[in-house]
């Protein structure tokens, strides 16, 4: 065997790493190679032992690290080789680098030394073997064919070197070939059961990968990338930890290679997981994500704005829009407040100021709403842009004076050079930046730059110009000769700048010329005073009106309180004096410090209700003194009305009564329901000492009385019995009662309600009778009409 042999052996082997579908073929191939190796050794042997020695060194057949079979098949291979003549050839797989040495040095040296002898011993047996092989050949598989060919070759070789030998050795060899056949069959079976081959291989793969990873990562990658998925799956089922450990080093490389090869696929594969991964990481450590992404966000946003500005505007509008609208709301509120107090002292002042300055009032309101402040003032050398003098508000962080001045100068130059047409000359006056403004005023060799916040007033700009011209005229030489040393600029410039900056800060009022202020001050004061007084007056008026309206008795009369000449006038009409004075009382409670002029007209002054009531009572009593008059009165204050009920003797008295009550002050209406009292003059006469009245009277007089009572249903009768003056008083009294009773009975018999009849006895002579008149005139029963209460 020579170096070519070793090369041939090595060549197909690298593929044996691959645990792929063609693995069985590979394994059989390898087996065949081993057989060939065996044959080669034998074929070479008889030619020249020394030549072989010089050509073959044991290391030439090494298969370092390239063997891919599993340990089982490996041991079988070794066994096969070991069973070749004299057990002289063995395979060593114990060395750490997995080299398989076909001929370990010790063994090979023995072969080399004794080769001719050994071969002599082997060769005689071969003819028989050849025959046997021909008998036993079977199967059409390529590997079998290969094996058969080899055996055929072996037969040929042996036949060409036929040497006589004894039969026992031949039979041994024969036996070995039978065993070889068995192994081959066994191996074939295994080849068709890949798992049995694969499983024992797995640990080895891990080791191999590690080793190869250290030696040559790239070749490993190129080999492993196409089958990495299956290998990983298989191995990870077995031993996850070892797999992870082994793969950890290669993975980044493998992934980057894959990314280079097909970035889109990698992106597709990873994309759905990225969101989840970020979410998970945020849960674990929020800041880490922020720190990682933070710096990139700015760039990303910038790029996005460049690429798709409108989309960004849409996205940001809800946030920025709100901020702006919040600011606008505050601004509008401020303006609103200013507009609302238009008539206040401040409002009037603003109106006058607007007229004086020749700008709109709205502009002034805007100025007031946006707080005006001078942040800094610089006196800058026009050509060099160097700062000659400056004044900055100490509270603020100092501006980068030189840079700012330089830049302003450059901008000025730029505008003059590029914006203006050649031959013309124009100046930059303001640079606006949100709430800030830079006001530029140029004169001579210098210019003033004022950085202000808010809206500068016209006076301020006027003042700025005035200050600048003062400086430019007074110090033009120093300024023209300015060489970068501020000390060459007279110190008198500094206070001018300070004055300009601070004066505008305090108030714009003082920036008005003093004379105008004084002239303005008086009318403003007067107007203000009037305004103030008017304001107070309005307050008192409205307060009084409210109080009057909330008083129930006065609310309907619409009394108007009015302040005139320092007095609170009450104007209106009420029906009476009482309400008038009531209104006066309310007004003086509401405005205790005001002199009240009660000009309310009491259209009708009602009498004191108490007095009216007394008068009604008096008139009633007076009428009741008149004979036949029995009246009662009922009067209501609220209605100013008197109801008169009762009995009067005739119509004339009834009319008198009505007139009399109508004349009482406070009484508007008299309801007179008095009745004219009927008079019953009828008398029934009796014989002396008798209770029997004349029968004739029964039919006529009793009937007449009954009819009278029927006509006047409310009327009751007093039936009064009289006697003549003769006889004893008690008897007369008794006789009188008896006579009245008889009359009553006679009336009751005539169906008169006895409840209307009341009997009395009178010891006196009947009215109109005297002792001189005949006695029978006194023996009578007379009637008095009355209406019970």
């Amino acid at each position: 065997m020579d170096k070519n042999g070793a090369d041939n052996l090595e060549k197909p082997l690298p593929n044996s790493y691959e645990i792929s579908s063609d693995f069985p073929e590979k394994t059989s191939e390898k087996f065949n190679e081993l057989v060939e190796l065996l044959i080669d050794l034998e074929s070479i042997a008889p030619s020249n032992g020394s030549a072989l020695r010089s050509e073959v060194t044991p290391n030439d057949v090494s298969v370092g690290g390239k063997f891919g079979g599993d340990s089982k098949s490996l041991s079988q291979n070794r066994e096969i080789i070991a069973r070749s003549p004299q057990d002289r050839i063995s395979v060593d797989r114990s060395s750490s680098d997995r080299e398989i040495r076909a001929l370990p040095p010790a063994v090979s040296s023995e072969i080399f030394d004794r080769k001719p002898v050994i071969l002599k011993e082997i060769v005689p047996s071969l003819p028989v073997e050849n025959n046997y092989l021909e008998d036993t050949k079977k199967g059409d598989r390529p590997e079998f064919k290969q094996a058969k060919n080899s055996q055929h070759f072996l037969g040929k070789v042996t036949s060409s070197h036929r040497i006589d030998g004894d039969k026992t050795e031949l039979s041994t060899l024969h036996q070995q070939v039978v065993e070889l056949e068995d192994k081959l069959t066994n191996l074939e079976q295994q080849v068709y059961q890949p798992t049995e081959l694969v499983n024992p291989l797995l640990p080895l793969i891990v080791e191999l990968l590690k080793h190869q990873n250290e030696v040559s990562r790239d070749s490993l990658l190129s080999a492993i990338v196409p089958i990495i998925d299956r290998a990983i799956r298989q191995r990870s089922q077995q031993d996850v930890a070892a797999m992870s450990e082994a793969l950890a080093d290669v993975l980044p490389g493998a992934i980057s290679q894959e990314i280079q090869k097909s970035p889109e696929q990698i992106a597709k594969a990873i994309a759905p997981e990225i969101a989840l991964a970020i979410e998970e990481q945020i849960k674990l450590d929020r800041e880490a994500i922020a720190n990682t992404l933070g710096p990139q966000m700015g760039e990303a946003i910038k790029t996005q704005i460049k690429v798709e500005q409108n989309a960004m505007v849409d996205a940001l509008y809800p946030v920025i829009g709100n901020t702006i609208s919040k600011y606008m709301v505050e601004m509008v509120k401020a303006i609103n407040d200013k507009v609302e107090n238009t008539l206040s002292l401040k409002g009037i002042k603003r109106k006058i100021q607007a007229k004086l300055e020749g700008i709109s009032e709205a502009e002034l309101i805007l100025q007031e709403s946006m707080e005006f402040q001078v942040k800094a003032i610089f006196l800058i050398h026009k050509n060099s842009g160097l700062v000659m003098r400056e004044f900055q508000l100490s509270s603020e962080s100092k501006l980068e004076t030189e840079m700012l001045a330089g830049m302003l100068t450059a901008i000025r130059s730029f505008v003059n050079d590029c914006v203006t047409k050649p031959g013309e000359f124009s100046e930059l006056h303001t640079i606006e930046c949100d709430a800030f403004k830079i006001i530029l005023e140029v004169a001579g060799y210098c210019y003033l730059a004022a950085i202000v916040k808010g809206e500068p007033s016209k006076q301020f700009i006027e003042q700025l110009r005035q200050t600048l011209s003062e400086i430019a005229i007074d110090h033009d030489k120093a300024i023209a000769a300015f060489n970068g040393d501020p000390a060459t600029i007279p110190d008198r410039v500094q206070p001018l700048l300070e004055k300009l900056a601070t004066k505008s800060q305090i108030s714009k009022k003082t920036s008005l010329p003093v004379g105008i202020i004084l002239l303005l001050f008086i009318p403003i004061l007067g107007l203000g005073f009037i305004q103030y007084r008017s304001h107070i007056a309005r307050t008192v008026e409205s307060k009084t009106a409210t109080a009057l309206e909330s008083s129930p008795e006065l609310s309907v009369y619409g009394i108007v309180p009015e302040v005139r000449q320092g007095k609170l006038h009450l104007i209106g009409k009420v029906p009476n004096q009482y309400l008038r004075s009531q209104a006066g009382k309310i007004a003086s409670t509401v405005a205790p410090n005001w002199q009240i002029n009660n000009q309310i007209v009491a259209v009708k002054v009602p009498p004191d209700p108490v007095l009216t009531a007394g008068e009604v009572e008096r008139v009633t009593w007076l009428f009741n003194q008149t004979k036949g008059v029995a009246i009662t009165t009922e009067s209501e204050y609220g209605k100013n009305k008197v109801n008169v009920t009762g009995i009067v003797p005739d119509m004339a008295i009834a009319q008198q009564i009505t007139q009399a009550f109508q004349q009482i002050p406070g009484i508007d209406a008299v309801s007179n329901t008095v009745q004219i009292r009927p008079i019953l003059e009828t008398r029934l006469y009796f014989e002396s000492n008798s209770t029997q009245f004349s029968r004739a009277d029964v039919g006529s007089k009793i009937k007449a009385i009954q009819e009278f009572l029927d006509r006047n249903p409310r009327v009751h009768l007093r039936i009064i019995g009289h006697t003549d003056y003769r006889g004893q008083q008690p008897q007369n009294q008794e006789l009188g009662i008896k006579r009245a009773l008889v009359v009553k009975q006679a009336l009751t018999a005539s169906e008169v309600n006895p409840a209307r009849l009341h009997i009395f006895s009178s010891p006196k002579l009947p009215p109109g009778m005297t002792a001189e008149q005949p006695l029978w005139l006194s023996r009578c029963v007379r009637f008095e009409v009355f209406i019970p209460q």
Binding site: H381, K382, N383, S384, G385, L386, V387, E400, E402, M403, G406, M407, T409, A410, S413, F414, N416, D417, C418, N483, G484, D485, P486, A487
Partner: protein
């Protein structure tokens, strides 16, 4: 006593390394990226003057105007150069035409400042050429007769070679 400031301008063709020189001088940084200056970039730096023996050494604040480079289409705006006490005219040693235009720039700076101006020539990117070539390039100089020029240096903003020196020399000449 207040600090004296001086305006100086860097003038030269586009891409000769004016901004890089300023950046090296002011920020002590260098970047290979080329960013074209538009308009003017202004920086400032305080320079300590070495004592001349007679009086004390005052500090000078340099207000450095890094003016955009001249291209075929656009001349340098002379108004940027007005009021400058000094100028550094920069050329690129790798581009001989930029050295050729130095004389123009000197004239421009001098005309903008009739009261006088100190000029330093900086032949930049010296790190990119070898010494023999350098000798040939230096022979191109035609500004020996200009009295304004107070020094000529081969500089490198990348290595920092002679960068501080040009500013120092100029500052010294201006005071």
């Amino acid at each position: 006593m207040s600090l004296i400031s001086k305006k100086i301008c860097l003038v030269g063709d586009f891409g000769v390394g004016k901004t890089s020189l300023v950046r090296r001088f002011v920020d002590r940084q260098f970047s290979d990226q080329y960013l074209s200056t538009i308009g003017v970039k202004i920086s400032r730096k305080l320079v300590k003057l070495s004592a001349n023996g007679n009086v004390e050494s005052p500090d000078v604040q340099l207000v450095i105007w890094d003016v955009e480079g001249q291209t075929r289409f656009q001349a340098i705006a002379s108004s940027y150069l007005q009021g400058a006490a000094g100028a550094i005219i920069v050329a690129d040693l790798k581009r001989p035409e930029t050295i050729a235009s130095i004389v123009q720039h000197i004239a421009l700076a001098a005309n903008a400042n009739p009261q006088g101006i100190a000029i330093v020539i900086a032949l930049n990117k010296v790190d990119l050429i070898d010494e023999t070539a350098l000798a040939d390039l230096l022979s191109l100089s035609q500004w020996e007769d200009r009295t304004e020029v107070v020094g000529t240096y081969t500089t490198s903003a990348k290595t920092g070679n002679d960068v501080d020196e040009i500013f120092q020399t100029l500052a010294q000449a201006m005071v």
